[in-house]
């Protein structure tokens, strides 16, 4: 019971890594281990190996739902200075590639992407805004219905007119969501009064308008492409 033969201080690196991952070290030792992890790749890899060995033990811990408002706290606490670089979701290349592939494959890709965000709350909405069976733009509306992101796919800029996006709910007139670009993803805030209209029954349409957009509040130029919103 009191065998202390193999109690040698300081321990070898592998033992130290194991103690750190197990969680048995006091604060000062933890801090010094963390400095070594940051500086020594070999030591860091010993730590990773112990994480791989021990962390599966947490399967014994039952999940506990955190309070509902915690996400809002986290969201508000996120550092604002971090640049929002476009990711996969907004990737022009991805969407362009998708429009070139067969419909079935494209739908599978859309489905795969939608799974990411289609958990408990509302699913995001997606529309392929097409003409002649080809997607000109691909639009996604976030689960909170706050923004619509529109990626140009097969759309060539018009010399004198700009593309404008319209939301058309069943039985309603077209409502402008803003101007699109031929060369970049555009994220448009959906006005609060229009959020309820962004449903699976609604259609998105793109018309060509004078620079600055339609001045009448309704499409004035030709409608070049349309697409139904869907959540797949």
């Amino acid at each position: 019971m009191t065998d202390t033969r193999d109690h040698i201080d300081p321990p070898d690196d592998d033992t130290l890594a194991a103690e750190y991952v197990l969680g048995v070290l006091p604060a000062a030792d933890r801090a010094s281990v963390e400095r070594r992890i940051a500086l020594e790749a070999g030591f860091a890899s010993l730590v990773s190996s112990w994480e791989r060995r021990l962390v599966p033990w947490t399967d014994e811990i039952a999940p506990v739902q955190p309070p509902h408002e915690l996400w809002n706290r986290i969201s508000a606490a996120l550092p604002a200075q971090r640049a929002e670089r476009p990711g996969l979701w907004q990737s022009l290349a991805l969407w362009r590639w998708m429009t070139l592939t067969t419909g079935a494959l494209a739908a599978a890709c859309l489905a795969a992407l939608v799974v990411f965000v289609s958990q408990p709350t509302q699913a995001p909405l997606i529309a392929a805004i097409q003409a002649d069976g080809q997607s000109r733009f691909v639009a996604t509306i976030d689960p909170g219905r706050n923004t619509v992101s529109v990626v140009p796919a097969a759309y060539t800029a018009d010399a004198s007119r700009v593309p404008e996006l319209w939301l058309i709910a069943p039985g309603d007139r077209p409502r402008s969501l803003g101007l699109l670009r031929a060369d970049a993803t555009v994220s448009l805030r959906i006005p609060e009064n229009l959020r309820a209209l962004a449903t699976r029954q609604a259609t998105l349409a793109v018309s060509l308008e004078p620079p600055g957009g339609s001045r009448t509040g309704a499409p004035t130029g030709p409608v070049i492409a349309t697409g139904r919103l869907t959540s797949l």
Partner: protein
Amino acid sequence: MEADGRAILVAALARVAAGERNALQTTYRLTSAKLFGVCLRILNNRAEAEDVLQEVYVTVWQKAADFDPKRASPMTWLITIARNRAIDRLRASGQARRMQPIEEAADIADAAPLAEAMVEDAESNAKLRGCLGGLADHEQQALRGAFFDGNTYEELAARMSVPLGTMKSWIRRALMKLKTCLEA
């Protein structure tokens, strides 16, 4: 976690690394209950566990680019962040909350058969359980006190009424036995 779930999480973390808030929210939806459970188990205090969980996801937001799916499973990576933050908080608070003699906590030891195979595949979990089961009772209890309650060597020595040197020997030997068994 099943292969599909893992792929979804890996993809979501890649998008977090690219700065997409939606992806962080997705990650949160998929993993917050597990990570909150982990924080709560170590801290044994809801308010502190909530604070730590917030720190965890802010860390994920900042560090997602460091996650390498070739080197770690996404759940292992996330749980590691949660455990480290929770243990740091426990140390900072300067008081150990779980200090009852370890015998009284023994019922925890065989409670909760693996709830759900979130972390790795069932096979490696079964192996870990088998290897843990192969340790002596006092070794298992000491490892549990450290892993689940965040106890230090000194706290464990007090809880199990043995000298500090003995506790260090127990734990170090148990860890090396575990490693040998897992790699067999």
